[in-house]
Amino acid sequence: MTTDAIALPGEVASDRAAEVAVAGPPALRRPPLANATFMRALLVVGLVAPFVCARAFSEFTDTVLVQVMIAAITVAGLHLLVHWTGQISLAQVAFMGVGAMVTARANADFSVPLPAAILLGVAGAVVASLVIGLPALRIRGLALAIITLAFGFAATRWLFLRPWLAPLAAGLPIHDRHLFGFDVTQSRQLIIPIGVIGVAVIALTTRLGSSPVGRALRMVASDEEVASASGIGVAGHKLFAFLYAGACAGLAGAFTVVSIGRVGPGAFPVSRSVLYLGAVLFGGPGPLVGPLQAAAGFAAFPVIFRSLGRYVDLIGPLSILLVVTVSPAGINGVAHMAETAVARRLHRHRPPSPNGTGSTAELEGDAP
């Protein structure tokens, strides 16, 4: 993905220049993550990992991991929307709330089995994001930020107080105690279904990123006119990205209510949307791995460092400021710089190829 020709929003010129410099030597053109076998092996390890975590770790560690997976699912969708499609949303936590409340209502009041209730929660979030996302067909960026922010506030102050959605102010307690046979009241069991589904969502998002759809999304983000002239349905792709992000948020919301048991309207403040947006930006444009690392850190940090108290609220804003003012490329950018530096060092020690293009240093014109 790092070798894609289309510039990502927020990508800095120096990074692109470094990328071009590294793209020369044939041996360095395919990073390990682009290797299909490696990706399949990674997926298998990811799917097995929740079972290992359930057996190897304590209840507390698995509780942290459940929160990490919930954050990772939300961030996966948001990354596709922000970095791959060039849209911005401050309503993701509101969509999480819709997913959580629909799941709780379906399970508690209508006795819908938990897996089906979770699907209904996802469907609810998709409907909500469809309503908010339709204007995305006509606008982009700044105005969309206002719409999604307004929806975020309206959700916490109005929608989540409606009796037809949340009959109890403290939130409806879910009825079922098992999800696919795993006890949802114990994190050591809950980590298995949430972990497996979370890994599947991450794998699907990664796959989408490298698929024609992902390339079309990036084309739309780069230049809508050019994308349209190339035969790409701009409106459809933007709406798809918004709905995909909404579905991910809805799934994360459904898992939130399953993991906690009940949630009130106060569990989904707009400030959390800023935190998730901060994680996505801190991760940086490019592969999903950077935002996932940031999401994991953001989700685990407040639980592990509880002694910091309210200061953990500063993580989101400060990380955004750090990214905006210091390093727009985020974790992905730092990783890419490190990869570039290692590649240059390794390549410098290689013997020059017969056609004389075997050295990065030669490509850059600074060969001795």
């Binding site: 911005i88 309503v131 105005a143 102050r157 930006l281 804003p317 905006v324």
Partner: protein
């Protein structure tokens, strides 16, 4: 009906006053400043600390509050100035500034409601049968006067031309001798002062906490958007229309959060017809 109109005009002028600063920054920098409300909130709390706790004269406390907000507006620009060619990065940066300001204000003053004595409290006036008490009239007058001042300034001076040139193509404007960075700095400072003024005028009318300006800023954004984001007098008109609609609605329903729901419906409905915005922005 007269009560609805009087209340609506005051509420609307508050929205308009908040929206003026938002529109001013967008007009110059093509950036939505999500820290606008929090910038004003901080000034209002400084005003509260000097006025209610320090027992300083009203005008001195208000002046310092507005100055602090202006300084915060300028500091926000300086902090994010490196990314001023990327409006989306600036927008996200202002969100972060808003988060930091809210956190700091929360640490200093807490989340409790605060009160300051209103100015001109015993004074009232009737205009066209509509009765306004002193502090409410002050808000209405400030909004009208400022909208008029901006309207005249943009008509009789070359400020409008400078704004349009530097917003459309900052590089070309720089080549033509426009000091884009200094103009940006001045605009953000002025917008900060406007946020502070709005907050200082509104604070005595309500019991205020660290989030009071955030909710007003959302309405301010809506008013600004409805007016096409670059039309300063239109922003006040949109703010007044929103205020009157909200006053009429809250009189007929007691449901909490109903104004927010109406706000979203209004914006979404409006966005299905964005032509009006495009005309206003052109």
């Amino acid at each position: 009906m007269k009560t609805i109109l009087a209340n609506g005009l005051v509420i609307g002028s508050i929205y308009g006053l908040v929206a003026l600063g938002i529109t001013l920054i967008y007009k110059k920098s093509r950036v939505l400043n999500f820290a606008h409300g929090e910038t004003g909130m901080f000034g209002a709390f400084v005003f509260y600390a000097l006025s209610a706790e320090g027992h300083k004269p009203y005008l001195l406390a208000a002046g310092v509050g507005v100055a602090v907000s202006a300084a915060l507006g300028a500091a926000t620009f300086l902090l994010l100035a490196r990314r001023r060619t990327d409006p989306l990065a600036m927008l996200v940066g202002t969100l972060a500034v808003a988060g930091v300001l809210t956190f700091v204000a929360d640490e200093i003053w807490g989340t409790d409601q605060h009160y300051v004595p209103p100015p001109l409290a015993g004074w009232h006036v009737s205009i066209l049968g509509l009765r306004f008490i002193g502090p409410r009239l002050l808000v209405l007058m400030a909004a009208l006067v400022l909208a008029l001042v901006f309207f005249i300034a943009f008509r009789v001076s070359n400020v409008a031309l400078l704004f349009r040139a530097s917003a459309t193509d900052p590089y070309a404007a720089t080549l033509m001798g426009v000091d884009v960075a200094r103009l940006d700095f001045a605009t953000w400072t002025l917008a900060g002062a406007l946020a502070g003024l709005a907050a200082v005028l509104v604070a005595p009318l309500v019991g205020f906490d660290v989030f009071f300006m955030t909710l007003l800023a959302i309405r301010g954004f809506a008013a600004s958007l409805l007016a096409g984001l670059t039309n300063l007098p239109g922003t006040l008109a949109a703010g007044l229309a929103l205020g009157i609609a909200e006053a009429a609605l809250t009189r007929h329903t007691t449901q909490p959060g109903a104004p927010e729901a109406v706000l979203v419906v209004l914006i979404v409905a409006f966005l299905f017809r964005p032509q009006a915005t495009q005309r206003a922005t052109a």
